[in-house]
Amino acid sequence: MSPQERAEELTQLRRMRAVSLLEGSTLLLLLLVAVPLKHLAGVSVATHIMGPIHGLAFLAYLWMLVQTVSGGGWSRSETTRLVVAALIPFGAFVNERALARRQAMLGGSG
């Protein structure tokens, strides 16, 4: 792998990790703040705001995942693991760790 290639791969991994964290965080906010506010305090505005924001973050996350994987360099089992984790709630955090390990392997800071 050439230095330029590695730098691009690291940039892609950093972006993917950021989007994974964003997806996981918006889900946490939705489930731990917005939903209790709606059901326990009758305040539904939080779910009306957080629902679409999380939806958008999830889409961006799936899109980035397809882009990252189709960029090559991932084995079939790694790809399967990433896709399965992407569809499980909080799987984004699992993927973020996997991406951090790959980033460390490539020589970028974790």
Partner: protein, 149 residues
């Protein structure tokens, strides 16, 4: 924001997104038919298309999704069958965009032309999906029906 202004923003973002998506698809089709990737002209073309994809097409896609979801919520369209069918096509276009974008990234540092596996037909798939979306949005078939809720 006024519903019509948001709709205008959505349509503008969609136009930019689909234009950029077609650009990536046609570039990959052209490169898969040639062996020019390793040459300077091929590299420059890939670099230019990638830049456009990263800074224009991808943000336009996110804007189209954001404005579209807001419109659907404000207009209470989520119960309409035409929107659900439209979302299937939009998800297909989004996945295709990710796939094409990743392939383009691979081409940026590979001397090999892209493997064909159907990507050569991506422009046609995009046009068919866009035509289906336009029919669904303009004609609004099954508009009187409500699938749930």
């Amino acid at each position: 924001m006024d519903y019509l202004w948001l709709k205008a923003l959505h349509v503008a973002a969609v136009l930019v997104w689909i234009g950029g998506l077609l650009l990536v698809a046609v570039a990959i089709t052209a490169l898969s038919l040639s062996k020019e990737v390793a040459e300077a002209s091929g590299r420059t073309a890939v670099f230019a298309v990638r830049r456009w994809d990263r800074y224009v097409t991808s943000p336009a896609m996110l804007l189209a999704w954001g404005a579209g979801l807001t419109l659907a919520i404000l207009g209470e369209w989520f119960r309409s069958p035409w929107l659900i069918i439209k979302l299937v096509f939009v998800l297909l276009l989004t996945a295709l965009h990710g796939l094409l974008s990743g392939t383009l990234r691979k081409l940026g540092h590979s001397d090999e032309p892209p493997a064909s596996f159907g990507l050569r037909h991506a422009p046609l798939l995009i046009i068919i999906s866009v035509a289906a979306i336009v029919v669904l949005v303009v004609v609004k078939p099954f508009d009187g029906d409500v699938w749930w809720g």
